[in-house]
């Protein structure tokens, strides 16, 4: 099965937020009550009600201001931290690419939120027991994909900044664009290798850190914790055996030693005999 991805060419994005609204429309997410606090970015951050957000960045480019628009949503990592850390396996990476969420399993521990290097999963902070607070994030429109449609954001993007397709081909396309216009792009496809690779790929005219994307190495962030988990069971065996051995050794050493006269209290019924 094809593994899908999306290429977001930041040089083509005009910050129109069609994707942001399309996302809300398809996923039936409510509008949030917001205020203008001196920025176009609104709602101010991703949330349980906003899974896709355009962040507006004014970046100084040598005296001349640059105005950039970063589309933030789930990166659908190849080795997703959220999937790795979820204690109940509520998150899952599908073979087609989307990282999907089973809201029947989730216990709301929010480890996925803490672990995600992109800060994507969000939580229903305002929902009580009756409404059932859950983790919320972009689904890559997995429901649309399974019906032969492309994600709502990619479908709606009027400036064709979002290209949906097979991840491998998108990487080729992205590298082609860089090759054709080396002056226009930073020579890097963000997401090709970051944190083990992501389904969402970015091209940009300015360094990705300036846009606000985290600098990440090629290893999945959960490499260490997964290693620890692999060693846990063998370690437990060895450690239990060691403890049992120690207990036996000390028990043996103690045999014949005098009981203190007043020593152990009544929690040890045998002590009665010992003290007699």
């Amino acid at each position: 099965m094809a593994k899908y991805g999306m290429l977001i060419d930041e040089t083509r994005c005009t910050g129109c937020r069609g994707c942001q609204v399309a996302c809300k429309q398809w996923n039936d997410l409510p509008g949030e009550e917001t205020h203008n606090t001196g920025s176009y970015t609104n709602p101010p951050h991703l949330s349980a009600q906003t899974w896709n957000l355009i962040e507006y960045k004014e970046i100084d480019r040598g005296g001349q201001v640059g105005f950039f628009f970063l589309k933030r949503a789930c990166m659908h990592c190849e080795h997703p931290a959220c999937v790795s850390v979820c204690p109940v396996g509520a998150l899952r990476k599908t073979p087609e690419g989307p990282v999907v969420y089973d809201d029947h399993k989730c216990i709301g521990c929010r480890y996925c939120m803490a672990a995600c290097p992109f800060g994507i999963p969000k939580f229903d902070w305002q929902k009580g027991l009756l409404e059932g607070a859950l983790i919320r994030k972009c689904t890559f429109c997995a429901d649309r994909l399974s019906n032969g449609l492309i994600p709502a954001c990619a479908k709606t993007c009027p400036s064709k900044a979002i290209t949906f397709g097979e991840r491998d081909q998108l990487i080729v396309e992205a590298e082609n664009r860089i090759r054709k216009n080396p002056d226009k792009y930073v020579n890097h496809v963000y997401g090709k290798e970051e944190a083990g690779g992501t389904s969402i790929l970015y091209l940009s005219a300015v360094p990705f850190e300036q846009l606000g994307l985290p600098k990440l190495g090629p290893a999945p962030v959960t490499t260490l914790s997964e290693q620890v988990m692999e060693y846990t069971l063998p370690f437990a065996g060895v450690w239990l055996a060691t403890l049992a051995g120690l207990a036996a050794v000390f028990k043996f050493r103690e045999r014949g030693a005098k009981q203190p006269e007043i020593g152990p209290a009544a929690d040890d019924p045998h002590n009665k005999e010992a003290s007699k």
């Binding site: 069609g18 001196g38 609104n42 054709k180």
Partner: protein, 844 residues
């Protein structure tokens, strides 16, 4: 648009001035991006560093209201550096035409053209006319006995020189006029650094090469000025000089602000037009003959009278007869200016008693909106037909207004949204697309057509039995679009498309359209001997609903086609919908070929002369007589296009040429001249004439807080301009009530540069007061590096920018930006000057 949205991808340079398509026309950026991926460059000239600017290869700031200087500067740059397309200029424009020797321009008359009358604030344009010469031609005429004989006839035709620089050619006047628009002048007036300007000029003038094309995209940043029409003229002239009109990737492209504003303009919603851009009769045309005299006889407009008759047949059916001048007397004759500002001035003066507002929200969108709301309060009744209770429908409960003091009776008719009804939508590229109804509206709300149908029938019923002559226009109105529950929109489409009332025959007596059949082209009207057997509500739409091939052999009403074939890969998509006129996608496309009929360049091929078949062929429908050879001579005695030659691409002009110099049609001069906005921080540096000399000035309630006051720099030192957001739609009627859009831009704000904010002690997110001579509003300050102060005429000037979508109704609310805009408009069209006025900003 002379071209089309998708055609932008064929441009080598895209020049955006007075528009922010990234924001307001996001779809355009798909094509701009495609062009850029091909290697095209993007120029953005705007007072603010907009989202479009963020994508630009070259961005140049300019002071609001100085576009004529900037564009004039480029024209001058092209002339001085010989970057213009000389062959194009000579063959296709009126550059070689000679002008009345008495003509004097602003260079001679300190800013005025010859013929100015100070008292009337108007021009007599007789000195602007072409020189003519008499030629004798042989014409066939029937003599007294009815026999056809050839006789000599003397005809006067415009006089043309051979060399551009001959005295009194348009070109020599033109050159002299623009010589004053130097890069230094641009820097002084526009505030654009000279090097930036030269960078823009150099880049855009590179499209003067035959194998290059440059597209100009503009919107309200050009038009909403007292010199708006001349701004647009400047762009057209620049494109003519560079040979960019009629060419793929060229053109002067108005990015229309609403999805169907093009369609409504086509249907004649403007006060001076009937459907299909037929001029509206005025007091000067008391009878049909005098009305007919308004049409050129040496251009395609020679068919104008026929189109008018078809329109009257559509409206009055059998009642419209030659004997009664096709009911010409039923059409009201305008006796003055019926533009927006005039209407509201009249309302304010109590001359207008009632107002029917259909999908308009003047309480938010009108200039000096507070005054316009007071105009509404002087009405006896008002009907608002809209999706929601707009600020206009609820003007009587505006903040600070006591409803008890208002006696206007207000009716609110709930209407349905575009998605909730079937009909056509016309894009800026003139492409008509039929859209189905995709959603059910709320109960109780009705389509516009339902409401109007009821209204018309009620009017007819109310006047039934009247014998009064003045009631005939209503009683005789042919009104038959079906019955309940809903009038049939297809019947309306049929009428607009045009159909034969009787068999239509050509001069030879051959039936060219059977009775009841739909017109497939307005060519049929031109050919018809009995053209009054045709009813056609809008000649330019003729054929849009007639059956047409969608490229796969499937026939359906043309506007409903969705064929995706694209011959030539230019993005014309001729089988998708229907582009008026005649499914032509690039207007004046005869100019895409050299005078000899061959393409200017292989990569700019659009249509060309097929010498073997003796026909114009190519990817687009020729905007030309298809069989007229490039070397065809004009017949000065001929009617219509016969009077034009094989190298006259501008078939709607009397001389078939592109007008660098407009001898008629404009009230404020044949060539664009810079005048300052009504409120300006400087004295006009080009001449002693401060503002456009023919601009209509009102002085209603002058001196009162909301009156027609003019602000000065001592009190209002900052330039303000209004703009739109992608998140909101016009006056926000629809968008500010939608949570998904309200959350994106929840509050009214003003964009302030960091330097000004620092000067005034304003922090990002503070509430500030923006005041003008019309009043003040309180808004959120958005402090940004995207607004920079500029140096104008040697002194620093700050510019601020406000969106104008907000009002007090809906989810996203805020003060009305237009409460502080001036009540003044363009000298020609009266479009209000929203884009340049003076304000002061301080912390609230």
């Amino acid at each position: 648009m002379t071209n089309d949205w998708i055609d932008i991808k064929n441009a080598d340079v895209v020049f955006i001035i007075g528009a922010n398509p990234a924001n307001n026309h996001p779809a355009s950026f798909a094509w701009i991006n495609d062009a850029r991926n091909r290697g095209a460059k993007l120029i953005v000239v705007d007072p603010a560093f907009t989202r479009s600017a963020s994508a630009a290869d070259v961005y140049a700031p300019l002071r609001p209201g100085t576009d004529i200087v900037f564009l004039g500067g480029i024209i001058n740059y092209a002339i001085q550096n010989k970057l213009y397309n000389e062959e194009y200029v000579k063959a296709y424009t009126n550059a070689l035409t000679l002008i009345n020797p008495d003509f004097k321009g602003p260079a001679d008359l300190d800013g005025y053209f010859s013929g100015y009358n100070k008292e009337k604030r108007a021009y007599d344009n007789s000195t602007w006319k072409y020189q003519t010469e008499k030629v004798t031609v042989k014409v066939k005429e029937k003599d007294a006995s009815g026999k056809e004989v050839e006789v000599d006839k003397e005809v006067s035709v415009p006089k043309r020189a051979v060399n551009l620089d001959d005295p009194h050619t348009v070109w020599s006047h033109f050159k002299k006029h623009y010589a004053r628009y130097t890069p230094e002048m641009v820097e002084r007036v526009c505030g654009t650094p000279k090097d930036k300007f030269i960078q823009v000029a150099q880049l855009f003038c590179s499209t003067g090469a035959p194998d290059k094309s440059g597209a100009i995209l503009y919107a309200m940043g050009q038009t909403q000025h007292t010199v708006g029409s001349q701004n647009v003229r400047s762009m057209a002239i620049l494109q003519l000089v560079l040979g960019n009109i009629g060419i793929p990737g060229g053109g002067v492209n108005a990015l229309r602000g609403e999805s169907n504003v093009q369609g409504s303009t086509d249907q004649g919603v403007l006060f001076h037009l009937l459907p299909g851009y037929l001029g509206a009769p005025t007091d000067a045309n008391p009878d049909l003959k005098s009305y007919y005299a308004r049409f050129d006889t040496t251009s395609y407009w020679a068919n104008g009278p026929r189109f008018f008759v078809n329109l009257m047949k559509a409206w009055y059916g059998d009642v419209a007869k030659p004997e009664n001048d096709y009911c010409y007397n039923y059409i009201p004759k305008s006796s003055g200016n019926y533009s927006w500002i005039s209407l509201f001035q009249a309302m304010y003066a109590g001359k207008i008693k009632g107002l029917f507002c259909m999908g308009q929200n003047p309480a938010v969108s009108g200039p000096n909106a507070r005054m316009e709301r007071q105009s509404l309060a002087k009405l006896e009744w008002m009907v608002a037909m809209d999706l929601f209770e707009t600020e206009t429908a609820g003007f009587w409960k505006a903040p600070g207004v006591d409803p008890k003091t208002i006696n206007t009776e207000v009716f609110l008719l709930p209407a349905l949204d575009a998605m909730e009804k079937e009909g056509s939508i016309v894009t800026s590229g003139r492409r008509i697309q039929w859209r189905p109804r995709v959603a059910a509206g709320p109960s109780g709300a009705h389509t516009d057509i339902w409401i109007l149908d009821r209204l018309a029938k009620a009017l007819k019923a109310a006047y039934a039995g009247s014998t009064d002559a003045k009631d005939r226009p209503i009683l005789d109105l042919a009104w038959n679009y079906g019955e309940d529950p809903e009038p049939d929109v297809w019947l309306v489409a049929r009428e607009m498309n045009g159909y034969a009332l009787e068999d239509v025959k050509d001069a030879a007596g051959k039936t060219i359209l059977a009775k009841g059949a739909l017109l497939s082209s307005f060519g049929t009207i031109a050919l018809a001997a009995n053209y009054d057997a045709i009813a056609c509500g809008s000649w330019i739409y003729a054929g849009y609903f007639a059956p047409a091939d969608d490229g796969r052999g499937v026939w359906r009403p043309a506007a409903r086609r969705r064929g995706q074939k694209d011959p030539g890969n230019l993005g014309l998509y001729p089988y998708w919908g229907y582009t008026w006129p005649l499914n032509r996608h690039i207007l004046y496309n005869r100019a895409s070929a050299r005078p000899d009929g061959t393409p200017w360049a292989e990569n700019k091929k659009l249509i060309w002369w097929d010498a073997a078949k003796k026909v114009w062929t190519g990817y687009d429908v020729p905007d030309f007589v298809p069989t007229k050879a490039p070397d065809a001579k004009a017949n000065p005695a001929g009617l219509g296009l016969a009077a034009q030659s094989g190298t006259d691409p501008f078939i709607m002009k009397a001389d078939g040429k592109g007008w660098l110099f407009a001898p008629t049609g404009l009230t404020d001069g044949p060539m664009p001249e810079h005048y300052e906005p009504l409120e300006s921080p400087i004295k006009n540096a080009l001449s002693g004439c401060q503002i456009d000399p023919v601009v209509k000035l009102w002085d209603t309630e002058r001196g009162k807080s909301i009156g027609d006051n003019v602000g000065t720099t001592d009190k209002y030192p900052i330039i303000c301009t209004t703009f739109r957001l992608v998140e909101h739609w016009q006056s926000g009627t629809m968008s500010r009530t939608l949570p998904w859009l309200a959350e994106l831009q929840p509050d009214m704000f003003v964009m302030i540069g960091k330097e000004l904010a620092e000067e005034r002690g304003i922090k990002n997110g503070d509430m500030v007061q923006v005041s003008s001579a019309r009043g003040e509003i309180k808004v959120v300050a958005l402090v940004t590096s995207r607004m920079r102060p500029m140096k104008v005429d040697g002194k620093p000037v700050h510019i601020v920018r406000m969106p104008w979508h907000y009002g007090w109704q809906g989810l996203a609310t805020g003060d009305v930006a237009n409460d502080i805009t001036p009540h003044v408009g363009d000298a020609n069209t009266m479009i209000p000057e929203y884009k340049a006025f003076l304000v002061d900003v301080k912390k609230a």
